[in-house]
Symmetry: C2
Subunit: 185 residues, 2 copies
Amino acid sequence: MSKSEQLVDTALQLFYRQGFHATGVEQLSREGEVTKKTLYRYFPTKEALVEAALQRRDAQFMDELQRFVAPLPLAERPAGYIDFIVQWVQQPTFHGCFFINAVAEYAGCDEPAHRIAAAHKRALRSYLAQLCTEAGLEGAAGVAAQLFLLGEGLIVACQVEGPEPPLLAAAQATAAGWTRQGGVS
Amino acid sequence: MSKSEQLVDTALQLFYRQGFHATGVEQLSREGEVTKKTLYRYFPTKEALVEAALQRRDAQFMDELQRFVAPLPLAERPAGYIDFIVQWVQQPTFHGCFFINAVAEYAGCDEPAHRIAAAHKRALRSYLAQLCTEAGLEGAAGVAAQLFLLGEGLIVACQVEGPEPPLLAAAQATAAGWTRQGGVS
DNA sequence: GGAAAAGTAAACCGATCGGTATACAAAAGT
DNA sequence: ACTTTTGTATACCGATCGGTTTACTTTTCC
């Protein structure tokens, strides 16, 4: 693995665990086993490293989701999205959504980090719409939006309160309802 | 208004707009029209001011919600929660949920800020359960959890992508479905 | 009216922030 | 072989961080 990939990897982990402002470049270079000078060769600023970490997480997340959903029959894939989230929020390393966390720290809509996060969510929503269409659901676009909101809610609720069984159950019950009847309204 | 209330007020606004780590005590005292010395008389540390701001926001939010829901007939109050969120996320000052933002920056479950946020969400959930029970919904606890997840999802989705009409519509459609038929499963 | 409390203004503390500079050692490319 | 690139190690930069201190002025209250 190249030094720059190693750096992005480390940055992703540290930013995710500790937050962005709470992670300094000193720690990033130390933990990434690279000198500050080398870090600044590849990334002109800390912001650039933040953006690279977000891009990497985007690719990683979409890849994991697609792998999770692939073995399921087409009709079960929309609800499978919620199962994917349910499994994720129960992992001990879970600390919420990297992109939502980024937006919390970089509030300005013009900030690059915010724009990358918005782009990621837009891509995710369009992927969900595709899953719903392929599943033959009526009002696929609407169901996809509902599925998306449910997923986002489950992620942040479990980030704050932990993976409480009633929350997981509520999410799965809602998704199961849509899968059966094709969405409300 | 006392100096300490003035300070908490300012802190709430600044933390909400800029984030916690991005707001320094220098700015807090300047904008709060108080000397650093005075600030430190009332709050032994910045963390204490963070906690006070969270507590104030908890009271403020629950109060606004109750006021919004009060004029509605009992049966319409659960769905009214979503209307409350819909109206909130469209305000130009909206920057997401203060508590979710706090958890993003103070990730440790042991951190005071995180615990206050979790307590707020627990209180909100129990209030929603009360609304659902009073509305005579079957499976009130389950519907309340679904309502809660939907609201959380709408909040963060609009924080990242802005108040897009399809998102607002999806949330209201989902809530309307529950109000009519008493929840799924 | 006189002490105590609450306030201002501003200098100061060590630590850390993001980022740069200097000096030198391995690789790598041709 | 010789130059360029990539890397290390480390000291340094000005600015800001959270927090303290000193000296002086109100306000409050008995």
